[in-house]
């Protein structure tokens, strides 16, 4: 079973080298609040700038919650991140899906494309997740319900 990857693009007004630095180095400044997985709101999000580096959130209570690892570090054109978070949005070091971000010149700015792939791996571990969490689906649905409440 394969699931089509998620592909999303935006165009920003800064050149690729600047976009790369802002995306990776300042991720804690633009990542949406409430869209993190720790018990407390995040104070910062960190992508360590080298292959094998950690990708994690640092929360208001000082806790660090791992999101994954840097799999490829190729400024200013590409960063490949391992997303080690399961379908119920909990850290899972045994599950890695990939988030690739590319930075391509577009006029005076940059086209930024994000691809989240190997989503079928969520399915391969679905039964394990379900057993651990009493169903990955309810966790996801609860998360969605919570987000809907926040929007309301």
């Amino acid at each position: 079973m394969t699931i089509a990857p998620i592909v999303q693009s935006v165009t920003v007004a800064v050149p690729p080298d600047r976009a790369f630095v802002l995306f990776t180095g300042s991720i804690g400044r633009w990542w949406k609040r409430g869209m993190t997985i720790g018990a407390k709101p995040h104070e910062d999000v960190v992508i360590e700038p080298f292959v094998g580096g950690r990708w994690f959130e640092r929360d208001e209570d000082g806790a660090e919650v791992d999101w994954g690892r840097v799999l490829a570090w190729e400024p200013p054109g590409r960063v490949l991140l391992g997303w080690q978070i399961d379908a119920a949005f909990r850290p899972d070091p045994d599950l890695t899906t990939e988030v690739e971000v590319t930075f391509v010149p577009d006029g005076n700015g940059t086209s930024v494309t994000l691809t989240h792939r190997h989503l079928e791996r969520f399915g391969e571990s679905a039964e394990r997740i379900a057993a651990q969490l009493g169903g990955g689906w309810p966790g996801l649905l609860q998360l969605f319900a919570d987000l809907t409440m926040e929007d309301a």
Partner: protein, 105 residues
């Protein structure tokens, strides 16, 4: 997406149905096995499974004279759609931030 999530949420709002869903999540099971594990009659289990199936949460395959229920991998389609919106929101936030940095120069 909203409709599918709503249907799934409604299907799982019932505690008995949620217990049946969690039993199927623990491993493929036939109606009789599910009924044996829960204080619910076989006809009632069958009815709940029908609702879960219509909500896209479980799927069934015939094995001999019985039907075996599993989590529906297509349920992952909803996860994909949810992630699509998630990343869309994040990239929009990044664009606003990056463009703000540019304007601040």
């Amino acid at each position: 997406m909203a409709n599918r999530i709503a249907v799934a949420l409604t299907a799982l709002a019932d505690p008995t149905r949620r217990a049946i869903f969690e039993r199927v999540g623990a491993g493929p099971a036939a109606v009789g096995q599910i009924a044996a594990a829960l204080p619910v009659s076989r006809p009632a289990v069958s009815q709940h499974l029908k609702v879960l199936k219509e909500a896209g949460l479980v799927t069934d395959t015939p094995e001999g004279t019985r039907r075996v229920y599993r989590l529906d991998p297509r349920g992952l389609g909803a996860l994909r759609e949810w992630l699509d919106g998630f990343w869309g929101d994040q990239l929009a936030a990044f664009r606003d931030f990056a463009d703000g940095q540019e304007n601040a120069r």
